[in-house]
Amino acid sequence: MSTTTVSQLDKVKTGPWNGGRSPWNLEYGKIMMWFFLVSDAFTFSAFLIYYGSQKFAQPTWIDADKVFQSIPGIADSGQPLVFVGIMTFILIMSSVTMVLAVEAGHRNSKHEVVKWMLWTILGGLMFVGCQALEWSHLHHQGFWFGSNPATGLTDPAAIAAALEPYFTKEISYTAALQFSNLFFTITGFHGFHVSIGILLNIIILSMTLNNTFERRGTYLMVEKVGLYWHFVDLVWVFVFTFFYLI
């Protein structure tokens, strides 16, 4: 009996984790990109969870339909969700063009990778541009880091009058301030990610044009940057729900 046990221990194991093979069948950089994205998801989760806990802690909250109701250049008010809908569509669309670039990379089709990367970069720039318009619109209304439309006023009636357009329920200066801080922090952090993504996409595009991936024989780098770009889209799905819908 003991001999069989020993011989079984001596036997070289052939499972995926027994060495000599790649258990996940993934390239190192791609695994590290995933782990980075998991950690980045934690950061965004922390931000959004704090937003949620503030909403729970305040007796009242701002009405998103009343804050976000302008379409820059078309309508100044009365159009809730339309502009953010356009932004959401642009970002989903650029995610699709990114995954089409990855698919073209699998077929080593340089021409198509270049085409789809250009569309992706264009989508990213349009999204950041839309966000800049929305930020400047809110800034003109008095929302900014550390301030809301009633900042600087002392008369309770004046404060109530300044905040009244943004509330459906009771009016709270603190709730408006927390909303303002968290909106600019979270969409700002997301916009920063989009900007970095655009930069990475431009680098990947120029590497493609320089035939770097042709010489490497693989377009794996497009996949890695693609993962980051989809993550940015993924975060926007959550930001959209928690800031604009609920």
Binding site: N25, I49, G52, S172, T218, V237
Partner: protein, 126 residues
Amino acid sequence: MAHHDHISASHDAHAHGEGMDKKRIWSVFFVLLALTALEFLIALGFVHHWAILHKGPLVTTIYIILTLVKAYYIVAFFMHLKFEKSSFIVTCSIVFLFIIYFIVLMLIEGDYLLHHFQEHPLYPNK
């Protein structure tokens, strides 16, 4: 370098076998578009325009479910996670149990603060 090529080549073969072709990419896009359109229908139509539904726990729950379905489609198909090895899927997703725990903790905390530390005035004071 040769080793690297070997891995990426076998990965490509893997991706071609059960990965994302153009048809599938567009079908996932239409799923995402339909889910987003449904969110807008609820928000602009049912809640804002027709006032059939009102903002509250029910509508919020519907939004969150739709959001999680959209997140699943992005991560599984666009980010290709569904087609990776199952141990990698578990590695990347199991940590979000802590996030669920964190959500529960922080919302309980927020609710506690509402009832115990709310000293700032509401305008107008009633």
